[in-house]
């Protein structure tokens, strides 16, 4: 019967696809998680690769034995069935060995987690508030506050204009932060739950109405980092991106000074020209 051969071929193809995927993962690519631009994000990436490889190897082992058996212990090859059906030694082994493997994953995971939980000694605190469907950023000790909404034009979304390079990942007012500085974020929401996620920072955090969550980051490299709302928040959920501009501390101070001169933020309802809101058309929500 050829089907088993095909099955085997399929399995091998799958496994090699799996390893190709992880092999090509060393550069930032569309095949894998980003390494990001913070110490934490690299820790997370390493953890991810560690578990991935462990799983790949266990998979190769388990499926290897299985395919070997499928090939050799076929009736068409005249295999006679054995009748054994238990073995305490083997069963103990394959309970204990996975336990050990799990512990070897849990230890680094715990270390990273503890590091991530420590938001103390931040030099700058930014309050992030989720709205349907934009973000508000407040620099708590600086008296700077503004809204940040999608800036991709409606025409691009509906196919009436060619899509730009940063289609759906661009905003009117990006969040500007200094590099090399420990920044604490506090999160809340004005309506439903959202989730603030910039992959390059290595984490996402939900914004819960009525409660505050916190998280922190320390960006090493200047640049523009893009992300999106990651918790379903209604009709405009796909349309509330995040853009973080990490600049040198000096540039940041300059920017801050400029922002302080500006008026108080408009209410979010005033942002009606935001595509996210006009998207709603005449429909409720």
């Amino acid at each position: 019967m050829t089907s088993s051969r095909i099955l085997r071929g399929g399995g091998i193809a799958l496994i090699s696809a799996l390893s190709a995927w992880s092999a090509s993962a060393h550069a930032d690519s569309i095949w894998n998680m980003t390494r990001g631009v913070t110490d934490i994000s690299r820790n997370v990436y390493d953890l991810h690769m560690l578990i991935l490889w462990i799983c790949v190897f266990i998979g190769i082992g388990v499926f290897g034995v299985m395919f070997w058996s499928i090939y050799h212990h076929r009736k068409s090859r005249g295999a006679e069935p054995a009748q054994f059906h238990e073995s305490t030694a083997v069963e103990v082994a394959w309970t204990v060995v996975p336990m050990v493997i799990l512990i070897s994953m849990a230890v680094p995971a715990t270390q990273v987690l503890i590091r991530m939980a420590d938001a103390s000694e931040a030099e700058l605190t930014i309050k992030v508030t989720g709205y349907q469907w934009l973000w508000q950023y407040e620099y708590l000790d600086e008296d700077v506050s503004f809204f940040s909404a999608l800036s991709t034009p409606h025409d691009q979304i509906y196919g009436d204009a060619p899509k730009g390079e940063h289609y759906l990942l661009e905003v009117d007012n990006p969040l500007v932060v200094p590099v090399g500085t420990k920044i604490r974020f506090v999160f809340t929401s004005a309506d439903v739950i959202h989730s603030w996620w910039v992959p390059a920072l290595g984490w996402k955090q939900d914004t819960i109405p009525g409660f505050i969550n916190e998280n922190w980051t320390l960006i090493e490299k200047p640049g523009t980092y893009r992300g999106q709302c990651a918790e379903l928040c209604g009709r405009g959920h796909a349309f509330m991106p995040i853009v973080v501009e990490a600049v040198s501390p000096a540039e940041f101070q300059e920017w801050l000074a400029r922002m302080k001169g500006q008026d108080a933020p408009e209410a979010p309802t005033a942002q009606t020209d935001s595509p996210a809101l006009t998207l709603a058309g005449d429909q409720p929500l």
């Binding site: 309050k127 506090v186 809340t188 009525g210 409660f211 505050i212 916190e214």
Partner: protein, 296 residues
Amino acid sequence: MAASHAHDASAFTTDHYYVPHQSYWPIIASIGLFTMMLGAANWLNGGGVILFWIGVALILITMFGWFSTVIHESENGMYSAQMDRSFRLGMVWFIFSEVMFFAVFFGALFYARMYSVPWLGGETDHGLLTHGLLWPHYEAAWPTGGPERIGGFFAPMGPWGLPAINTLILLSSGVTITWAHWGLIEGNRAALIKGLAATVALGVLFLSLQGYEYVHAYRDLHLTPQSGIYGSTFYMLTGFHGLHVTIGVIILLVILFRSIAGHFTPQRHFAFEAAAWYWHFVDVVWLGLFVFVYWL
């Protein structure tokens, strides 16, 4: 008591597992449930309520018809000891599902008291920021209407008035139903009927007092389901408990009538026992309520 069909020690007429033939009741019950739910949805959307009551009526008719069929079969000796065990298993696991249902609302109460309210009030790291940035004027305490006192000011329901009396009532109803059970087992029919009647009466008394308590809560204490998390948990728990007492009373009434009709024998009275289990369950839930909702 009715003549026993006993032909062996188990007092059951047959060792054959009776698989009933086709029945109209389940499909009517499904249609009834559907009508009731559709009606309720309509009602909540501001529509009429007639459909809902039609559904309820259908369910009641089904219950009457279905139970009659079962009683008829039982009285005609079609049930074996094995079937009796199936019924028992069914009832036990049904009560377990009810336990889990109440556990949710108790869980919500504990969560509110142990986590959300203290957090809103600024306890623990998590709460510190929440309190400082969002609810700086809120002082956590229990009972509470929450930082914004959504339902306005209210007074909580103290434990030592009506609730304590109600606790005594339910506890004694546990005694009276046991008395009835003893009567049944010993063939003392008068005790059976008196015990059941007393239990039903206590149940009704409990419900009346509970109703009175609600009126008092609404009128004098200004305590409504809108009274923040305290009002929410208070009414959810006492409300569902009250509903279960109501169901229990109806079941007990049916058992009372069947006892008067002489349906049960000292060996064979699963329906009575099921009702008693259910009643004890309702009783135990009340104790939890008394301790965690009213007292602590």
